[in-house]
Subunit: 398 residues, 2 copies
Amino acid sequence: MPGLLLRDARPWRAGGRADLLIRDGVFAGIGPGLPAGDAEVLDLGGRLVLPGLVEAHCHLDKTLFGGPWRPHSAGPALADRIADERVHRAELGLPTPAHVTALLETMAAAGTTHVRTHTDVYAGIGLTGVEVVRDVAARLAGRVTVEQVAFPQSGILTNPGTAELLERAIGLGVGTVGGIDPAGMDRDPVRHLDVVFGLAERHGVRIDLHLHDPGTLGVFELDLIVDRTRAAGLAGRVTVSHAYALAQADAATQDRLAAGLADAGVTITTAAIFDFPVPPVKKLREAGVNVACGHDDIRDLWSPYGSGDLLERAMHLAYRSTFRRDEDIEIALEAVTFGSAHALGLERYGLVEGASADLVVVDAETPAHAVVTRPPRDLVVKAGRIVARSGALTSRVN
Amino acid sequence: MPGLLLRDARPWRAGGRADLLIRDGVFAGIGPGLPAGDAEVLDLGGRLVLPGLVEAHCHLDKTLFGGPWRPHSAGPALADRIADERVHRAELGLPTPAHVTALLETMAAAGTTHVRTHTDVYAGIGLTGVEVVRDVAARLAGRVTVEQVAFPQSGILTNPGTAELLERAIGLGVGTVGGIDPAGMDRDPVRHLDVVFGLAERHGVRIDLHLHDPGTLGVFELDLIVDRTRAAGLAGRVTVSHAYALAQADAATQDRLAAGLADAGVTITTAAIFDFPVPPVKKLREAGVNVACGHDDIRDLWSPYGSGDLLERAMHLAYRSTFRRDEDIEIALEAVTFGSAHALGLERYGLVEGASADLVVVDAETPAHAVVTRPPRDLVVKAGRIVARSGALTSRVN
């Protein structure tokens, strides 16, 4: 692959203009007036360069993206949505390679270079979802990297056979084991965490747990997860998604939890959807907690919303956090870049020499301006390869 | 003006496809297979037609829209933002005709045909804002209709001379008198409402009060406003904007307030901004309360956010209301159309024969789909005249 030289770029956090020289898929040099050699040269005219966007939480296997509009068919309660999914999932043939492909292509064209997706694993569906997502991801590997979480949507203890399916998913190459509301869904928080942490310890996989449980119940579970992570020495390898209880807690409890999460090395992932509680991301960052961000559901049986554009998702996070100042809005941008990259365990991430050359170019005056206006993606580069120009993929894959 | 025939349209709530015949600025006929006569004919190919969007609450006089990105410069507290505005407003030369023009043109191109804007009126600025907005609005009158509220941003009782300025603003043609936190800002709710309702009764103008006061204090003020509106016989002519207390109240209090607001004919306008409380719009509509919606601040010293696109604003309202079903999402669309039109007192509004021919055409499968995806505005018509095509104004004004 010939090299690529991006002249007159304005890389985020580099403090000014620089050229970016890319060779063999990595940044070979960042600085002023770099020699092009035989590299293709693109002049960015001072446009802003962000590292490739990283989606930390979605559900590709559920999406109807790219298909016709489907009015939401469930009633208002959570139980209604679970029942609705049970009825319509098979009828709609989910997961559907065409929908998963359409969404991943849209994500890639919008500057997303890495995706973590929670794939349902339970008795009714077995490992079908894992296989469908794996096969689509393999076809799109040059454009976007997909990492799956084996996700026990319907519980583990309450659904016999699920623990074994999670283990088989790991055998298929899934690198992260999921969990869901150890108390509220599975009715036994300690035994639920026994299974999840047991799999992580035996197989060396990461952990990403859904935690919707509210109030003091959720706080209790966060404490359990912090303790387990410390005891197992899994710093940097455990994520709690949603963590509504952390948003609902009083300030003193938030402070205590933030210190614990930071010390244990547990990531908090938020999606800032609907009117659901958003953890105090500024306080968490100030305490040293890693914060990641993703879409959650995108145009599926759970939600008709979602575009796949992570700058829009960062806007929702900044907006719900009442961030007005540029440096605050950048906390949301950090969540969909560095924070999510850390959650996924991406090595060599960022606009630095030696890192994988993943980047997105936008016409924005500041990073906060990019979050507020979500301008078109002029250029997307993944591992040194031009993936998209002017918002469109450079070529379709088969 | 020659007529216009829109063939094969799909007007919202018409139950199917129809032609729309426009003559002399109004809908002369709506139905299948209408004769064109000498009218210009456009085939919409079954695309969705919405009535012109109506902005019920913004602050044109404060905007920096169209200018360079300006990082938010205020600290986190309300007092910081008030002090920041005092420092920077004059320095930035606000209100600026160029910024007001840029925003109104963007609004018009996005399908907004009517705007209510709150213009600051206080001793330091006098009626300058009212005059600037009036002059810009006059130049754009064929594209968008602007109605001003004389807005006592800094209080009435606590800022001697403001009541007289409000009266002079009415003398300049301003059709609505504003108010702001009669208790929290002006420290005397009854006397504050004496001034506002007194002006409305003496001059026949409408009322639109900002009410941020939270909790039981805000509920107390809502009750005062309901009682005053009934006593003054001002049904349909009074709006309360924001009404955070209504969002914070318990369900029984919400029910009681909703019944009172409906009976008195008081509109609730929400902007669904940041993480601020959103009144229970579905409950309000079910109780018969008129609900309107607008942007509030757009790219100004108070907020760096806002696009001028009312479909995006409807998305925020639907999203914060956790509306998933099409019929619920349409409640948010109703707020930026019929609800806001009612608040502004627009007569002959809607896609019906005899109404002013204000409409916007989008490529969306359902109205809810339009809110979720905010597609480009293919065509905008205001009083029978084509204002914008493909998201761009058909011609600039001087």
